[in-house]
């Protein structure tokens, strides 16, 4: 279930209401998001599309608690994200959100294993438990034989798979992917999108992905467009499904 009309429906995992984000550049105010509404149910794969500067990444940052809105509210499950700040927000993010970036953003001095282990260092898991979780995440991504490799020893597609393993290793409530295939060739991009799609279909994950690539967006169950600071259904009109 994905809706953008702001009508209250039961069963939303993510509920966004009247979201505004305004930037100030000198004396000029830039309204990136205006009165944006969104409801996403658990297990959905949503793609956000739109021209550069339309606010796709800003929306993702707000949903992930990386940025604060100028107005409006975001609820995820029972948590009102927009009411949190500081340590509480950081803790919420660590438990509930997995991030995948366009440029992978792996720590170059750590191995694939150590990169994936990073979010688990903040938990109370024992070393053995951390190892088990990391190995599971990396094997899901088909990288069991690359655990000891450093990012520089991996291809772009493999690096992004490590980044996805890092994003899912703590079993977050939902994944936010910002142009996850933007830096990859077609073949690698399809592999990555196939993996993300499998996380949704086989493991019930909820994924929200920003992309400007229509072929990448086709992997999603729902495609939404950002226009004039608000979300609209795709021309195919598959929101509200």
């Amino acid at each position: 279930m994905v809706r953008v009309d702001g009508s209250d429906v039961d069963g939303s995992l993510i509920r966004v209401r009247n979201l505004d984000k305004t930037y100030r550049r000198g004396s000029e105010e830039i309204h990136v998001l205006q009165g944006l509404n969104l409801d996403v149910g658990a297990g959905e794969f949503v793609a956000f599309m739109g021209p550069s500067g339309s606010g796709k990444t800003t929306l993702l940052n707000l949903l992930g608690g990386l940025d604060t809105p100028s107005a409006g509210s975001i609820r995820v499950g029972e948590d009102t994200v927009t009411a949190m700040s500081g340590r509480r927000l950081t803790g919420w993010r660590a438990r509930h959100v997995g991030f995948v970036f366009q440029m992978y953003n792996l720590i170059p001095v750590l191995t694939a294993f150590q990169n994936v282990e990073l979010p688990l260092l903040l938990t109370n898991l024992s070393r053995a438990e951390r190892r088990r979780h990391v190995e599971t995440a990396l094997s899901l991504m088909g990288l069991s034989d690359r655990m000891k490799h450093y990012p520089r020893q991996l291809s772009g597609g493999q690096e992004q798979r490590v980044a996805i393993a890092r994003a899912i290793v703590a079993d977050p409530t939902f994944l936010l992917c910002d142009e996850p295939t933007g830096d990859l060739d077609r073949k690698s991009a399809d592999e990555i999108l196939g993996l993300i799609s499998a996380l949704v279909s086989e493991h019930g994950k909820t994924v929200l992905m920003v992309t400007h690539d229509p072929r990448a967006a086709e992997w999603a169950n729902v495609i939404l467009h950002l226009e004039k600071g608000a979300l609209v259904d795709s021309p195919q009109g598959n929101a509200g499904s």
Binding site: G91, M103, N105, P108, A170
Partner: protein, 380 residues
């Protein structure tokens, strides 16, 4: 501990820079180790001086003698419980660079006055019965490879001629910073073979008082006792005597503090610059850490831990090298008889290194802490 791989790997991501910074810290702490060792060596008398001992010298100067007859008169002064005496010999062993202090002593009273020195009883007994005998400190014996039974020739400078001694014993210090470079022989031997002008005289007296709290009164009483005589005295506590001796070289502590201050300030700039660059280069990575759940305080702690690890690692290397250097003994050939780097001074060095680490890391760490994730990710 689980963050250690992250800290260490970040530290050595730019190996050349890390090793250069580490080298700077190690060199600075090596220098610190040597400076405090030299300072200890030059003021060693002050550190190890007995609180209940006074030194009585000729009022004119240390090189003017005092009559041997003063011994009994000193013993009569209230508060004085023991007296011994010694004279500077100033002999040369083979070469003038082979300096070590030689004293003509009264064996019985001398060893009682300095209980911090220890001689095996059998060796001491041999020495007492051997007019040409001598006892040397462990450091000097080791330096020249002397063994008990060796015949040691010294060329006299104050007391002309070649003087030969039988090495009857080797003394050790009960504390690690006790001076074990001295050479003791019988005053009677000097009296017998020495020039006429020195007969009946000694270089200085050492007096033990019944209570260190009475030291000031006893000092006054001694100097008053010999006032207006042909050989007026100047008495001081052993600590004050050693301190005034050390001051003849200059205000060592001030010089060392000045050099140390400059070195540490420079070190602060070098390490601070390294840490600032290290943080600036990985703004994006720090943002990722925050994204996956590291708190602001956690990121601050990570950067500070890196600076601290770098400084402590350099400190351990530098102080370790300094300790190794001091273990090889006095490099000046006798000018610094106690060349010893005490453990508490090494701990002080590590504390200074830790301070450099924290101070150099604090600005970059706060920068990292205040980093806004969205702004930082935009820069990647």
């Amino acid at each position: 501990m689980k963050y250690l791989p992250l800290i260490v790997r970040n530290l050595f991501r730019k190996k050349t820079r890390a090793f250069l910074t580490l080298g700077s810290i190690a060199v600075a702490l090596f220098l610190f180790g040597l400076l405090v060792t030299v300072e200890t060596a030059l003021s060693q008398g002050v550190e190890v001086a007995g609180a209940d001992r006074l030194v009585v010298i000729n009022r004119v100067s240390l090189i003017q003698p005092l009559p041997i007859a003063y011994r009994d008169r000193l013993l009569q002064i209230p508060g004085v419980t023991a007296v011994t005496y010694a004279s500077w010999f100033g002999g040369v062993y083979q070469d003038e660079r082979n300096f070590f202090p030689q004293f003509a002593i009264d064996p019985e009273s001398f060893l009682k006055m300095y209980p911090e020195y220890s001689v095996p009883p059998a060796q001491w007994k041999t020495f007492l019965g051997d007019r040409e005998g001598c006892v040397v400190g462990q450091a000097t014996a080791k330096r020249f490879g002397w063994k008990v039974g060796d015949r040691i020739p010294l060329r006299g400078t104050i007391f002309p001629g070649t003087w030969e001694f039988n090495l009857d014993g080797i003394y050790t210090g009960k504390r690690p910073d006790d001076d074990t470079t001295q050479f003791w022989f019988h005053r009677k031997y000097l009296e017998e073979r020495g020039p006429e002008w020195f007969k009946g005289y000694v270089g200085w007296y050492v007096v033990r008082v019944d209570n260190p709290d009475h030291a000031v009164d006893v000092v006054k009483a001694i100097d008053a006792r010999f006032a207006n005589s042909a050989w007026e005295t100047h008495t001081d506590t052993e600590k004050a005597f050693a301190a005034s001796f050390a001051k003849q070289i200059g205000n060592i502590r001030f010089i060392i503090l000045s050099i140390g201050g400059v070195v540490f300030f420079t070190l602060l700039l070098v390490t601070g610059n390294t840490m600032a660059m290290a943080v600036r280069e990985r703004i994006g990575e720090l943002a990722v850490l925050k994204t996956v759940g590291f708190t602001d305080a956690g990121v601050l702690g990570l950067v500070l831990a890196e600076a601290l690890t770098l400084a402590l690692l350099g400190g351990v290397i530098g102080l370790g090298l300094a300790k190794a250097f001091t273990l090889s003994g006095d490099p000046t050939g006798g000018l610094l008889p106690i060349f010893y780097l005490a453990p508490w001074k090494m701990a002080l060095g590590l504390l200074l290194a830790a301070m450099v680490g924290v101070l150099s890391g604090i600005v970059p760490a706060v920068t990292a802490m205040r980093l806004k994730i969205v702004d930082a990710l935009r820069r990647v």
